[in-house]
């Protein structure tokens, strides 16, 4: 159950893992980082909430937005419950076309969630208000993560040789 924490893997996402690798630390993937778990999830919810807010309320005045705060949080939650279910059906379909078994359902869901959230972020990035910053931040983080994943794959192949 417990392992030595001295050289234990610390991160899940590619960007912090790349930084760990450059610092000669363990760059293996782990899901035990509470900061990643909370920050990434909150970011997904925030981006999708803001996108749904923009979609449903458009340029509504602040008091009206405050009034619909809780219903929109509920809508965001319901959206993701439905999205996760539909994603699961898509994954089931891909598995029937022999999607590699090494890709777990959770990782496949992660990819689809990333696509959906990035779509929301692109919508936010075209907004003239402060929401634009949130959208751009998410897109930047995704691009940085993808580049890091590529670099880690290259390092891993080089080390294997």
């Amino acid at each position: 159950m417990a392992r030595s924490e001295a050289d234990a893997p610390q991160f899940y996402f590619a960007l912090p893992r790349l930084i760990a690798a450059l610092r000669h630390c363990n760059a293996a993937r782990t899901e035990t980082n509470w900061l990643e778990a909370n920050v990434a999830g909150a970011a997904v919810m925030l981006v999708s909430y803001l996108a749904l807010d923009r979609l449903c309320l458009g340029g509504a005045a602040f008091p009206r937005q405050l009034l619909f705060l809780l219903p929109l949080v509920l809508l965001t939650w319901i959206f993701w419950i439905i999205a996760l279910y539909l994603n699961a059906q898509i994954i089931k379909l891909f598995r029937s076309f022999r999607m590699p078994a090494a890709v777990s359902n959770a990782r496949a869901q992660s990819l689809l969630i990333g696509v959906i959230t990035t779509g929301f972020a692109c919508q936010l990035a075209s907004d003239p208000s402060w929401r634009r910053g949130i959208g751009i931040t998410w897109i930047t983080a995704v691009i940085a993560n993808l580049i890091s994943a590529g670099l880690l794959a290259i390092f891993s192949r080089q080390n294997a040789r």
């Binding site: 159950m1 417990a2 035990t32 509470w34 996760l84 869901q109 992660s110």
Partner: protein, 291 residues
């Protein structure tokens, strides 16, 4: 019951980074709709924090329910994926004593992850542990729980129900005399179970006397043990000095009463520190009009 299936599905299919936020949102939902549990938590917290405001206790009740959701989720996660947890031990030497004891009683409370703890203890020390508990109100939920516990503990955890009648007493006595470890929750009584009156936080509370009677008859020590959540996928095992129930010149009842008093003092100390993980979802204090 349906929510347990949803939880199992979510743990296998939802990425780990979405689980905290979805768990929090689900807790908010259940906090509003599980009124009896919410009221019980607030009622118990009113005793633990007598000078606190009602609003503060409602926030505390939410935090307790949130921790409850986490412990259920993490116990299910362990059952399904055998993920790693880290833990630290308070009272390591006492835990070692327990692990090597020829017959012992573990006395715990509805606190932290007692289910996960039992499964991990059985696996770590390769010892079978018999867990005595009240059955879930719903039979299918109980079957799911029992199957989960068996799976988590790889067969090292056996479940006995405290509604099984007097035969259970003899079974447990035989088990303890045979060198087994029996785990019992000692912070709540159910109808039909023998109990004694104790005091916690200056209020009367009913404590089941079964563990103490068993310890007296079998002449084995009682190890107070709690497993509390110390963070994201981290737990703390707290083991306290064993309670030894010995017949004195005053008689059996006095010996049990003394042990109950000692247990209440210890439980009060632990609950005062870990109130946010005391999952007393039913009122436990006698209402003398002050609650």
């Amino acid at each position: 019951m349906w929510w347990r299936h949803c939880l199992d599905w979510a743990l296998l299919n939802v990425p780990f980074y979405l689980q905290p936020i979805l768990l929090t949102l689900s807790t908010i939902f259940f906090f509003f709709f599980a009124a009896p549990a919410r009221r019980a938590l607030v009622s118990n917290l009113r005793v633990v924090f007598p000078r606190s405001s009602a609003i503060a206790n409602y926030f505390r009740a939410f935090r307790t329910l949130w921790n409850f959701a986490w412990t259920i989720s993490e116990a299910s996660n362990y059952k399904l994926t055998k993920i790693d947890y880290t833990y630290d031990i308070v009272g390591d030497d006492l835990l070692q004593q327990l692990a090597t004891a020829r017959g012992a009683i573990v006395l715990t409370a509805h606190m932290g992850s007692y289910d996960l703890g039992a499964a991990l203890f059985a696996q770590k020390f390769q010892r079978e542990i018999r867990m005595v508990r009240a059955p879930e109100p719903d039979s299918s939920s109980e079957r799911h729980f029992a199957a989960s516990l068996q799976q988590s503990g790889a067969g090292g955890v056996k479940v006995d129900y405290n509604t099984s009648g007097p035969l259970l007493s003899f079974d447990l006595l035989n088990a303890v005399r045979g060198g087994e470890i029996v785990s019992i929750q000692g912070d709540r009584v159910i109808p039909g179970v023998a109990y004694a009156e104790g005091r916690m936080f200056n209020h009367q509370i009913s404590i089941p006397t079964g563990p103490f009677t068993l310890a007296l008859v079998a002449q084995v020590p009682i190890f107070p043990l709690f497993i509390v959540r110390a963070g994201y996928r981290r737990y703390r095992i707290i083991v306290r000095e064993p309670i030894v129930v010995e017949r004195t010149a005053s008689g059996r009842d006095e010996a049990i009463a003394a042990a109950v008093t000692r247990w209440c003092a210890l439980l009060e100390e632990v609950v005062a520190q870990y109130w946010h993980q005391w999952f007393a979802l039913l009122p436990v204090f006698e209402n003398d009009g002050s609650i």
